[in-house]
């Protein structure tokens, strides 16, 4: 369990105010555009930045408590910190870098083994190399390994992919997924990329201008209207936890089952019964009062209107309940009036497009799904 509650103000007007609890396992994403205060939060958790007031507790150990005057020094916190710019030691070879933190840790406290980390990150062939001879992606993998071998109780990752091009990102993401699944280690992951968040995170803390906008399980947080200024109207949507129900090889389609029904999607590279995440953007959900006939859209789901929130400009956010699952839709205010949409009304949701997570390349549209800068 990670509890963060902190406030700080800096000359120049930047102020940060946030409080959230993250589970003791899995990835918690700190998400928001640049300048939102994401990095400051993990710097405070690492002890690099001291908050004005607040409390930081990791796995029951108090790292910082302004009221009680507790401020554990950086080196005693045992957090693995992966920086955006790697920060490998140029005077040490890759192996020396990897062992730097390991050596500073008592042998009995080393559950994370050198060989296992090297294998996990695929860096065995790099051990004798100097950091400046590595590619950006290799450098970042070594930096992750170095942080892991310091035997941290928490891994902090500050936009570890931001300095990399699309190809390098795609190269590293699978390693991060393996890391998340193989290590029983909580990870705080800073990102301004919704793609990365959706692929990796279980919990989402959304920040805007130093303020916490929302926090909670990714699927729940993402469809909330208050996420709009964080992700932008273009990307607001719903994340559905699904199970692969069947494949239709002839048509190259798969069916995904979720609590509210089934979705037909382009064939996914997963076995039947496997869990996948499907993402439906609010702007890809249209609403009909009666079951549409003669339309090309294949995903038609019966739904009940839960909430209608008119936004500034032409649009309104409509919260639909599909078999107990909340689905965000975005229609024009004109349509709301024409269809007389109101809470309790039975409608049909027409899902025009579904993106299925990770291994489907469509999910990682180049340059897409990124918080607006």
């Amino acid at each position: 369990m990670i509890e963060v509650d902190l406030r700080l103000a800096r000359p120049g007007g930047f102020a940060l105010d946030c409080g959230f609890a993250a589970p003791g396992e899995g990835v918690t994403a700190l998400f928001g555009r640049s300048g939102a205060g994401k990095t400051t939060i993990i710097q405070a958790v690492a002890g690099v930045v001291r908050p004005d007031t607040g409390r930081i507790v990791v796995g029951g150990e108090v790292f910082f408590d302004a009221a009680r005057g507790i401020d554990v020094p950086i080196e005693a916190r045992r957090v693995g910190y992966v920086f955006q710019d790697s920060r490998l030691f140029p005077h040490l070879k890759v192996e020396g870098n990897l062992r730097y933190g390991e050596r500073r840790c008592r042998a009995v406290e080393r559950p994370i083994r050198f060989e296992a980390v090297v294998e996990l990150l695929g860096i065995g062939h790099l051990l004798a190399r100097r950091p400046h001879t590595l590619s950006g992606g290799e450098r970042q993998r070594v930096a992750i390994g170095r942080a892991l071998l310091a035997q941290p109780r928490l891994l902090l990752m500050d936009e570890p992919l931001a300095a990399l091009d699309e190809a390098r990102k795609a190269e590293i993401l699978p390693y991060l997924e393996r890391l998340r699944d193989a290590m029983r280690l909580p990870i705080l992951y800073v990102s301004h990329s919704l793609d990365e968040v959706l692929r990796l995170a279980d919990t989402l803390v959304a920040l805007r201008d130093g303020r916490q906008v929302a926090a909670g399980p990714v699927a729940q947080v993402l469809s909330r209207p208050e996420m709009l200024p964080v992700v932008g109207r273009f990307d607001l949507g719903t994340l559905l936890e699904c199970v692969v129900a069947r494949h239709d090889g002839d048509l190259a389609l798969s069916s995904l089952a979720f609590a509210g029904g089934e979705l037909r999607v382009p064939q996914v590279d997963r076995a039947i019964g496997e869990k996948v995440r499907a993402r439906v953007r609010a702007r890809d959900v249209a609403i009909a009062l009666t079951k549409p006939e003669g339309v090309s859209v294949s995903n038609l789901l019966p739904a009940v209107v839960e909430e209608v929130v008119a936004q500034e400009g032409p649009y309104a956010d409509v919260g639909l309940n599909v078999g107990g699952v909340r689905l965000a839709a975005m229609v024009t205010r004109e349509s709301v009036a024409r269809l007389a949409l109101r809470p309790g009304l039975d409608v049909w949701a027409m899902v025009k497009s579904v993106a299925v997570d990770s291994r489907n390349p469509d999910f990682l549209s180049p340059g897409g799904l990124t918080a607006p800068e």
């Binding site: 020094p73 080196e75 140029p90």
Partner: protein
């Protein structure tokens, strides 16, 4: 080296000895001073800054005279050095070493300070998150990364100590075999009726030594930069 007379040879070895030990003893203090000047923040810092660089701009005779009144046999510090530790600096090689160390100190500090300021502090933060204490970080990250600066600073100090004249002759006088380094020997030779040949030979040695240490400095610097991955 049969081209040199025994007297000249004495001056050359003495010069090397003085320059080496002056640098050797002042180096740790120079690293510490550079660290304080580059990193620490305290009210009287500009005063310390000025004090460190003073020997660079003062006439060397003034530096020598200040050493004489402070560390001389009857100097306010010198009398205790003699009484408590039996250390006499006047007319001795130890005194010549002190004079050379004081004069070359600002150059050494400056070279080390520049090297230190070039060290990426983000690397030091990274080292601390990996469990290293501040002292540990200094020896395992900061010092290795500033090593080229420290070594080229040391070689620069040796080169400038080899050329020290004013402070030495004022502080510890011109005693053959004790304080008569190459510059002092040349000075003496120019006062002798047939000293021209000797002065010329020692001048050549001076040029060779100075050039050699500068070349060595740039060679070492390059080798280390490659070694620590900054080439």
């Amino acid at each position: 080296m049969s081209m040199l007379t025994p007297e000249e040879w004495t001056a050359v070895t003495l010069s090397l000895k003085v320059a080496f030990w002056a640098t050797f003893w002042s180096l740790p203090l120079a690293v510490l001073t550079a660290f304080v000047l580059a990193r620490a923040r305290f009210p009287s810092k500009s005063l310390l800054d000025g004090l460190v660089y003073l020997p660079l701009v003062l006439p060397k005779v003034v530096v020598g005279y200040l050493l004489l009144v402070s560390l001389g046999a009857r100097g306010f510090l010198g009398q205790y050095l003699d009484a408590w530790f039996g250390i006499r600096l006047i007319f001795t090689t130890a005194g010549a070493t002190v004079a050379a160390a004081v004069v070359s100190f600002p150059l050494t500090v400056n070279a080390i300070r520049l090297a230190l300021e070039a060290v990426d502090r983000g690397l030091e933060t990274a080292a601390r998150t990996l469990g290293a204490s501040r002292l540990d970080v200094f020896f395992s990250v900061t010092l290795p990364l500033m090593l080229p600066g420290v070594l080229s600073g040391a070689l620069l100090a040796i080169a400038s100590a080899l050329g020290e004249f004013g402070a030495t002759i004022t502080f510890v006088s011109n005693v053959e075999g004790q304080t008569r380094t190459i510059p002092l020997a040349i000075y003496s030779a120019t006062h002798m009726p047939d000293g021209d040949a000797m002065a010329l030979r020692l001048t050549l040695v001076s040029v060779v030594l100075a050039l050699g240490s500068l070349l060595l400095a740039s060679l070492v610097d390059r080798r280390i930069r490659v070694m620590i991955g900054r080439g």
